[in-house]
């Protein structure tokens, strides 16, 4: 499915609605470069899943944990270059722990992503406008998403 967002705030609202359709064990993998709005999207997800959490890009921490009824784990794979690296972030362990994983720079770990991964591509149309495209085997679940 595709959605055109006209502001970071609208992206966050879309992401919150998107997050309400997620289930424990889901992996959300972001595609899109610097400044596309990945962190804004995760902030929106967290507003629905872990309202008290302070969301920031885990570029240095590699993973941030946002505690909610279903925990949200926010990964940044920007500096990850090998399966060994993926292993030592604990990524494979988090897959078994019954939360939702949101993965920035998922391009870097493509072979390590589960088959059911939900891909969220964010393309910059203008300063404020973004095209959000949801794909993957499980994308049908988000077809009727309304704000």
């Amino acid at each position: 499915m595709e959605y055109i967002s006209h502001s970071p705030g609208e992206t966050e609202r879309f992401a919150a609605a998107f997050a309400s359709l997620l289930q424990p064990g889901d992996v959300v993998a972001f595609l899109g470069g610097l400044g596309a709005g990945k962190t804004a999207f995760v902030r929106g997800m967290a507003s629905a899943m872990a309202p008290d959490a302070e969301v920031s890009s885990p570029t240095f921490a590699l993973v941030n944990e946002y505690d909610g009824k279903v925990p949200l784990w926010h990964f940044d794979m920007y500096r990850i270059t090998s399966v060994e690296d993926v292993y030592s972030t604990g990524f494979f362990d988090y897959l078994e722990m019954g939360g939702v994983l949101a993965v920035e720079w998922s391009e870097n770990i493509t072979p390590a992503l589960p088959e059911e991964t939900v891909f969220v591509q964010i393309d910059r149309l203008s300063d404020n406008e973004r095209k959000i495209t949801v794909t993957g085997k499980e994308a049908d679940r988000f077809e009727d998403l309304v704000l």
Binding site: V83, D93, M97, P111
Partner: protein, 239 residues
């Protein structure tokens, strides 16, 4: 000799107390990776139920890998803590060897396989019976490889080869047609059991000295080269 044993290398958290040829107590849970929360109450409850105190324990044994990154650190960290606090010595045992000890004395080969993701497994190969020394006989070192490579490396043995470990079903499905002598372990025998860590430790102690806790380290296995290169290439094109 009483050995307190642990394995937290995969989805099961398991603790046991074994002595020569006997399990005195054992407790396991497989409810997902929450070992940091489950291992201590599980061990405490087991020791209380068995009426065993830490002062009855002579030595601590732990599966030191391969396995889950977080799991290895929880198991090793726990054992370091117990041994430092109590002044006891410890011994690290290969996770794969401990899995194979479930078949000690059988006229089979044992191929423990742990799912390392991305179509890769941690594996090794053992003979169930070592007629010279007792225990089991190691044929391969612990190694990470793809399932296809494992199939090629096993060849076509005539002797039954028992697949055990959390990757057993995955590998059996992939290779059973190609290798007719493969056998899949029953579900109850596939998961890690701390008692097998203890029985492996008892065998090792015939020829090895236990160590102080600062010397025990997680044994991470390197994943196959090709897979690492693949990721490096993807990184180059993504940037």
């Amino acid at each position: 000799m009483k050995i307190l044993c642990f394995d937290t290398t995969a989805k099961t958290a398991t603790a046991a107390v074994v002595t020569e040829g006997k399990i005195l107590a054992e407790s396991s849970v497989t409810i997902g990776l929450t070992h940091s929360q489950t291992l201590m109450p599980l061990t405490d409850g087991m020791l209380k139920a068995a009426g065993i105190t830490l002062s009855d324990i002579d030595l601590v044994a732990v599966s030191h890998g391969p396995g889950s990154f977080t799991g290895l650190r929880i198991g090793i960290g726990t054992v370091k803590g117990i041994c430092q606090g109590s002044g006891k010595k410890c011994i690290g045992i290969s996770t794969l060897e401990a899995l194979a000890y479930g078949y000690e004395g059988q006229d089979v080969w044992i191929c423990p396989v742990m799912d390392a993701r991305c179509n890769q497994v941690y594996t090794a190969l053992f003979e169930g019976r070592n007629s010279l020394t007792g225990g089991i006989n190691r044929l391969w070192n612990d190694i990470a490889m793809t399932i296809d490579e494992l199939g090629n490396n096993l060849g076509q043995p005539e002797i039954p080869v028992i697949l055990t470990g959390d990757g057993a079903e995955l590998v059996y499905k992939a290779l059973a047609e190609k290798i007719p002598s493969l056998r899949l372990a029953a579900p109850g025998l596939r998961l890690q059991r701390a008692s097998n860590v203890g029985f492996a430790a008892l065998e090792h102690l015939k020829t090895e000295e236990p160590v102080s806790p600062d010397l025990i380290m997680p044994q991470y296995l390197r994943l196959p080269q090709a897979e690492r290169e693949l990721l490096a290439k993807q990184q180059a094109t993504a940037k």
